[in-house]
Subunit: 398 residues, 2 copies
């Protein structure tokens, strides 16, 4: 009789893992709370006994993941509660990004504060991966050293790239606009910085930052218009990664299958990418988005028509996404965030027209609010999430 292979053991409940799991529940409860909770409130909100929560919180405080704030003086009888908040400057997640026009680093702690940040603007089209990663490492290395010298534990690093990245194993498959293909990014950066980074698609990490900025557990489709068009699906506050981390490639949706000899001539990126919009607006390919915005403000008819055409393609593509994954909100980031006022109506109209559930659950189109370089923020949050997901395991190894 053949021995069956061990299945994923994560589903079975063991008492040893019970405490670890509840430690994570407690930590996430404290970090995600819109305002500081006391031990008693935490116990009530998670449904645990006060005694249990007290033990967990003590553990978290000792590990410097949580801090006690000064007791609030309320005008109420009873012993005052001790508010709990995520610790500041004790653990950092490091987000990195290499994109077509810039590269940079951002370090964030559990409280969400930015501990360090460096961005260098430069046109990296055609620059080889080796040189660029060297440059990134030169940026990141001092940041890591500085944090460690200040007593900050580095939870991990995550790198955002504008291309197709394997979720688990990490190699970059292809980044068309950088001209990279089959690059072992994890290996290269591990050697340079001493830490193996997570690597992920830029839009997926930007969407993570966006989900974080909208507390609660929002569900939306995120569109990141950079030079290309990326995207991501967020469900209940979680990035939907797909099997390999290759999900959300909204730019490759074909909205006009019969336009050219190749079906890909009708893809969203071909119709609404930055280059396509600039060309249709009669601007030189070297122009930047600001030129297009200026033309729009001046009511230039070619620019207006170009953006309208792009917005139609975008709306149609997003309607397909909504029909397939049943999301009720669309968030426009990057280029489309800047063009938001010029594309909103057309996108909303196409969603209303095409999404089958629109009559029962109207779709919302909103601009991104995660700030500048959201993928760097998302990367830092991704790095921190290793602590939040299983703090006990993380503490054992740090």
């Amino acid at each position: 009789m053949p021995t069956p292979e061990p299945r994923d053991p994560s589903r079975v409940a063991r008492q040893a893992q019970m405490r670890d799991q509840n430690l994570g529940v407690a930590l996430r409860g404290i970090v995600d709370a819109p305002e500081p909770l006391s031990r008693a409130q935490l116990a009530a909100s998670e449904g645990l006994a006060r005694a249990t929560v007290s033990g967990l919180v003590d553990h978290l405080i000792e590990a410097r993941l949580v801090r006690e704030l000064d007791p609030t003086q309320t005008q109420r009888a009873g012993r005052p509660a001790v508010p709990l908040a995520p610790a500041r400057g004790t653990v950092a997640g490091i987000g990195m990004e290499v994109n077509v026009d810039y590269l940079g680093v951002r370090a964030i702690d559990l409280a969400g504060d930015v501990l360090a940040e460096h961005v260098e603007l430069d046109d990296l089209r055609g620059a080889g991966p080796g040189a660029v990663l060297d440059r990134l490492a030169a940026l990141v290395g001092p940041v890591i050293d500085g944090l460690r010298d200040g007593g900050v534990r580095v939870a991990g690093t995550a790198l955002a790239l504008p291309g197709l990245v394997d979720r688990v194993t990490g190699p970059l498959r292809v980044a068309p606009n950088l001209g990279w293909r089959d690059v072992d990014v994890v290996g290269a950066l591990s050697a340079l910085t001493g830490l193996p980074p997570r690597v992920a698609n830029e839009a997926n990490l930007a969407a993570r930052a966006e989900a974080h900025a909208r507390r609660g557990s929002p569900s939306f489709a995120y569109v990141s218009g950079e030079v290309g068009i990326g995207g991501a699906i967020v469900l209940d506050g979680e990035i939907f990664p797909g099997r390999h981390g290759w999900s959300g490639e909204i730019g490759h949706i074909v909205v006009d299958a019969f336009r050219g000899p190749r079906a890909s001539d009708g893809s969203l990126e071909a119709l609404a990418g930055q280059d396509a919009m600039l060309r249709a607006a009669g601007l030189p390919p070297t122009a930047r988005l600001d030129a297009l915005l200026d033309a729009l403000r001046a009511d230039d008819p070619r620019a207006t028509a170009a953006v309208a055409q792009a917005a139609r393609a975008l709306g149609v593509a997003l309607a397909s996404v909504a029909n397939v994954v049943d999301v009720g909100e669309v968030v426009l980031g990057g280029t489309f965030g800047q063009l938001f006022d010029h594309v909103h109506d057309e996108v909303a109209a196409r969603l209303d027209e095409l999404v089958i559930f629109a009559p029962w659950s109207p779709l919302v189109v909103s601009p991104a609010r995660a700030g500048v370089y959201p993928a760097m923020t998302g990367g830092a949050l991704a790095a921190l999430s290793t602590v939040l997901v299983d703090p006990a395991e993380w503490l054992r190894t740090h």
Copy 2:
């Protein structure tokens, strides 16, 4: 200080729920196993102690969810193992379906055996919901009574409908090809059969049956070509439901945004639905699929061109799905299952051309293998899943 609302308490680990959870792990391990496992094998595969598994299995046997098979005589030293298998004929899930051309019931037990089945073929287009649901209840009632008289516990019922159905609350929003809109199906059937059914989209339930037929935990996009075109996304063997159960509406993907005055004129259903194919093939709208298949076998050029055109639209739409949700396999069911040999090459070619990850993870296109009326099977499985997900809870209430 405001008391925070209690969060979802399912994430915290309690010892009381530990046993319940492991009971489910054990039951699913036995039911999902490709061949009967012994207690010892189950313990090894789930990572639980043998003593623990023994206790759980005893409980499952006493509850008549699991049975012991005769010990196998192996050519090996040691006490022979007692193989465990799902019990037969002790619990049934009941799947029901109302579609354009038929309605029916199928009852399945934990072993996957069909305990009862009735199908009535009839054109239900335009028939009102009231009359049709009466007719369905007349079919289902005797099945339920017969099962109960035979000592079979009915785990629940699930109804498949060719339309948009709310996952939790259950009202049918719209079923275009039946001409139904905003029907309280759950209320009507509860009154008629005494059991509140789950209600779900036909394609989603058919995909569930398909996932069950392909053991392991497959990930694929399922296309159900009936009169309309439905679809579903399966990830790791689980239906991806979306927020409301409105996911997978592949028929509403627009592949030709500039074809007609309305963007929806370029939807997959408009281009590759049964009516569109018949029309393009020069067949009367009253013709059935068999006529199209005959014409294809006779190398009729109009039929060949019609199917080629539909296949191109289908391939383009499925490429968009693959790019967005990162699935590696496409399963063609319903009409497209019957047309499989005529559409496979075109669909596969479009996927290879358009899916960005195709060079690293080639896509597979395969025909459905869940048999006839897969949505009825899927409904029965959905009803049974209430037992499998939390057997302890189910036993408490039955």
